[in-house]
Amino acid sequence: MAVTTMIGARVQRREDPKLITGHGHYIDDVTLVNMAHMSVVRSPHPHARIKSIDTAAALASKGVVAVLTYKDFKPVILGPIPVTNSFVPDKKQVPEQFPIAADEAVYAGEPVAVIIANDRYLADDAAQLVAVDYEPLPAVMDLEKAMAEGSPLVKSDRPDNIGWDASFPSGDIDAAFAEAEVTVKERIGQQRLFPTAMETRGCVADWVPFDNRVTLWTSTQVPHFIRLFVGGALGVPESQFRVISHDVGGGFGAKLRPYPEEYLATAASKICRRPVKWIEDRTESLQATTHGRGQVFDLEVAAKRDGTLLGLRFTQLLDIGAYHGVFSAFQVVACLLGGGCYDWKAINARSIGVFTNRMSTDPYRGAGRPEATHLVERAVDLVAREIGMDPAEIRRKNFVKTFPHTNNFGLVYDSGDYEKSLDRALENIGYPALRKRQEELRAQGRYMGIGFSTWVEICGLGPSSATAPAAGIALVESSMVRVHPTGSVTVSVGTHSHGQSHETTFAQIVADQLGVPMESVEIRHGDTGDTPFGYGTYGSRSLAVGGMAIVASCHKVVEKARKLAAHAFEASEDDIVVDQGRYFVRGNPAEAKVLAELAFASYGAGLPEGMEQGLEAVSYFDPPNFVWPFGCHICAVEVDPETGAVTIDRYVAVDDCGNVINPMVVDGQLHGGIAQGISQALFEEVQYDDETGQMLTGTLLDYLVPTMAEMPDFELDRTVTPSPTNELGVKGIGEAGTIASSAAVINAITDALAPFGIKHVEMPARPDRLWSMIKEARA
């Protein structure tokens, strides 16, 4: 039996040497001979009719190869951008989105023309010369007004502005409210966010004339999706379409769909018979890369005076933007997880997706689970405040305690121990002393608050039995493990790593599974030319699904190696012992063969009867269930009542993602995730002018991406409750920090401001908002 040596070790990342010395290979580093550059002319209006486009001056500009509009692309791009039916199979409307506007632009930033020129400066010069005659139309910006009868339409060919209206009833909600001794109500927002990967999007398309083979380099989390959809729309079979996504400078959910520019650059390469490069600048990125969240929840909670939670009723209004994001409806999963880690008699949820004249929303780190966690964690605190119960105790009282647990909507939580992480976090922060300190500070006129977020999430998407009906696709994952003749190992995977450290952590798994040195294992991803079809990386799925696909291939390799060893030793297979990559006959470990020897033999002559040469395997893993990480975050803040400024004094997190492959990587994922949730709670918000539809936060500083000075130190700890659904016992951790942290911060702020009678604070809790609330409360 193999003994684990690499799994669980703090192994330094093998990705880093090239990245810290400037030798990464990101999208803008791709250069081809005779490459032209694309600049995109975008609608400055949120909604306008395009009366005419005069391209003559642009075409005459220096270095311009072509100026292309809808009519040029229509014959080349044969299909629309896809939309999955994720969680809302019965969408009311799925308007088709063509990658470039025809005669009506419906969001500011929508492509209306492209320039192809000899360099990017010349392309940008010419873009200024395209004369588009727009007739501005009314912009639909407000969700409730958009739903009203007689509202202006987001696009003139639609019947109304509703994308979906889906109800999720579970249990007798009226009985739960009839039984209630206390009810609370609140409206809780989830502001629009920029995912803000530091590398903007970009692509290089090379359609080779006459050969008709296409290579598309692109900054994406999902190279196989891009090949499937972009290739499909352009009529190129997968065998002739190769998508390469080398180093990617962050994704956070905003790089998991095919985008208009990928279709346009590829089509332009075909039309112009040259490789075409497009690199998004930051201003474009903020307008034209998908946004996250953009929701508002109306919530009602029923409970008893002793703190027993009974029923939850809520409506999610979701700002779709002008077109469905490819996975925008995934965020409806917030309805199914609105109960969090608590027992409820009944939950009744409804989700309405509303079109507006804004950029599409699509998943952003957590996608639906941060919203659910923020909702339920605020709900529990509102009840606790109403009945005067300690927020830790109301949580403890209502925790789900036995596993597997089937929630109100039939989802099965695989394993957990919510009290354990709560208790550990209480201990780590020194809860009783902190509460005492709070009293002392209040007596001095200082406003300190303590906020909890006991979170649980669904990840590891996902079992095909669940994802195929819900999302229309079976989210399985793939691997190919090939042992070369002298024993080094190439592992190709369908997932994609863009900061998640898979090149390190997957190699740790393979080293253990095959009993070979980690240095001999090479992980390949991000190139459809040499990886099996995979669904890519998002939803904290790469380890629990992709990692298990690797384990499955390793098992097949070990089984074949065992046969080879039995043949070499002229022994029965049952008598072969496999110990850390050494194969020997039971009782005779001195005469062992290592995997490299068996690999060499596998490519030679004299194999067992009927065995083919080679030592490799391909596997697709379809998990039996989702995985359910959980934990407890406690945040302590102080609010300055004179300025409204929030200082985070402590941030304690105890998280549980099952077994850990590399603790350094897990901590790093948590740091970044928590930072993004804190930043949603305190700083970030995409703002548009409600009248003109113009974006007001068009730079990183206006948007308020936090710097080092705004982030606290994180005090991390963990418990380990392995998942019973996979052999590695792993869950996911990529999104956990973001899912947990906004609620902990906002609960801390509302706790700090309790003396003012403030029960709820919307995000972002910027100083001006808090200052105004305090001023009003004092008046």
Binding site: T21, A675, M708
Partner: protein, 175 residues
């Protein structure tokens, strides 16, 4: 209409003719072929393009190539001494100070400059010294740790790296 520019990049002399409007960052990436310096905003807010000009950290998106005429530029590719990583590079590796790696060259250049100016910065000085650089992956925790660790290493103390698997520490820079 081009103009001559002569400068030293990472110790090597170079002469080119460039358009006066060409940004230094585009010159470095597209003319000199040094793609380690990255671009992540249009507004000189993110610091990804930080290089050193005559030893001073500068955002190369806010300088024209012709303004670097006669100057000496160090980019991320020129920071390591042959095969030996600069202590700041080593510390970013040791402390997991990067994830996607896109902001990293700018951070390393800015941190190297900070430590050159102030070999033993306090946490507050690290925060102020690096406030012109944005990272979206790390929450900054491990970047701050890396700068502290590099400071110790550069001042004669060993960087405190504990518990690494032996195999990983042995990995070479070329790896």
């Amino acid at each position: 209409m081009t103009q001559p520019v002569a400068l030293t990049i990472n110790g090597r002399q170079r002469e080119d003719r460039v358009e006066p409007r060409l940004l230094l960052v585009h010159y470095l990436r597209e003319v000199a072929g040094l793609t380690g310096t990255h671009i992540a905003c249009d507004t000189s807010q993110c610091g990804a393009c930080t290089v050193m000009i005559d030893g001073e950290a500068v955002k190369s998106c806010s300088v024209f190539a012709v303004q670097a005429d006669g100057r000496s530029v160090t980019t991320i590719e020129g920071l390591a001494d042959g095969g030996t990583l600069h202590p700041v590079q080593q510390a970013f590796w040791d402390e997991h100070g990067l994830q996607c790696g896109f902001c990293t060259p700018g951070f390393i250049m800015a941190a190297a400059y900070l430590l050159q100016q102030n070999p033993t910065p306090t946490d507050d000085e690290i925060e102020r010294g690096l406030e012109g650089n944005l990272c979206r992956c790390t929450g900054y925790t491990n970047i701050k740790k890396a700068v502290r660790s590099a400071s110790r290493a550069m001042n004669g103390g060993a960087a405190d790296i504990a518990g690494h698997a032996a195999t990983a520490v042995a990995s070479s820079v070329e790896g």
